[in-house]
Symmetry: C2
Subunit: 242 residues, 2 copies
Amino acid sequence: MSWRKESRRAERGYHHGNLKEALLQAALGLIAEKGAAGFTFADAARMAGVSPAAPYRHFRDRDELLSSIAQRGFEQFEARLTAAWDDGRPDTVTAFERVGRAYLTFAREEPAFYSAMFESGLPADANPALMAASERAFSIIRAAAERLAALAPPGTPRPPAMMMALHIWSMSHGVASLFARGDAARRKLPMSPDELLEAEVLIYLRGLGFPTDRRPSAAKSAEPPPVPPESGPPAGPWGKPK
Amino acid sequence: MSWRKESRRAERGYHHGNLKEALLQAALGLIAEKGAAGFTFADAARMAGVSPAAPYRHFRDRDELLSSIAQRGFEQFEARLTAAWDDGRPDTVTAFERVGRAYLTFAREEPAFYSAMFESGLPADANPALMAASERAFSIIRAAAERLAALAPPGTPRPPAMMMALHIWSMSHGVASLFARGDAARRKLPMSPDELLEAEVLIYLRGLGFPTDRRPSAAKSAEPPPVPPESGPPAGPWGKPK
DNA sequence: GGCTCATGTAAAAACCTTTCACATGAGCTG
DNA sequence: CAGCTCATGTGAAAGGTTTTTACATGAGCC
């Protein structure tokens, strides 16, 4: 029953040729199915068809592999957020909400990355490149918050964009890690995580004085779309108890 | 150099007498200093002065110890939140904010519990007692949200209390796990986590139509304290850029 | 063809987890 | 108090993982 190994070796020769990448992929799969904690360096090596010592030619240790994955995760995360933000088109609020949804989508679709990024307990100073990548991802949220802050209705104090960004981030992260991980819902929710976050953000924005009554719809025009500054008893951003 | 073990044994005899508790304490310490992932069953045994096999008389395996700790954590968490809520005294909003602060304080002061509770990647169905404990803790937040929802200013739609509770929880958890763990701040913040969360909650509540201009102060009287329904351009809940 | 260095391997040390047969002694029973 | 019993510990061992070290391979380059 050793033809497996033999053929593997035959297929690729003594040198793997692309081990580093293979290990990253293998680890990603393992983390997705067994959690960041359960993932094993030896397992990844086995999966790539090399000896347990081989990975050490590419990563100082298990933690470095993990932080590489986290870094790569932040890069993809940044890309997704950037795409979702789409430079604020068609209007700032719509784009902003899309960023929130993208956050949850990423957490749901890339649990392995998300784990490595936020739940692997990596030493904060693990990797400067990691920090930088995380910083760049956050900067998307901050940039969006800046644009949003600039829209503060005249007459109201303009909220600090950095604070808004941190608030939005904490909401997104909170919803993602409490309600949007694992097998969908370990707690039965009255609404989906997406709806939950959207309502949360809308209420928050309204608290800052932004007009957030259901979708400025068309309005591809200049910001801000003309909206009554105070539209009486506002309709809630949450759905009716259908 | 074996007098250590000998004396240990002498001190306590063949039977430890309180091993289960000793293991829980040891594990708590280890998790606090090395993270939930780094903690080792064998280490806990060593710390309690027993053989590596002894713990298996009290916990099916490492995970069961972890989930015991998480459960205990939720119990203490519930106690803290209950105390902070203090049945809504002196007024609902003040008490509510106190609950938020208690959340962060717990995360900061009991990192080991917090890790075990939220970051240990325990299988969702690990322990029914754990689920129940977590449910009880959440119920405090929900109860508080219910009282708050009942205060919705007349004329505005009353927000679903469950939704509010989930929102508040996600904000608290988000701030706690992103900004209030580890060595205080791996990211430089413009304000403390406590202030960040307080501002976030205040803005959110204002978004729901609650009057939240700085502290109803005295007003131990009946809810709601008389407040102008719409106080013009509201002063921001965030501090001035001192 | 021969060199060299990056990339793999094998073997081994150190540690963890978990199980199993066996040892102890605390507490009940008579 | 003798004797029993069973919960609680111990030692040893099997099977994994991590990481290091000396050695093997072969790809790329004169």
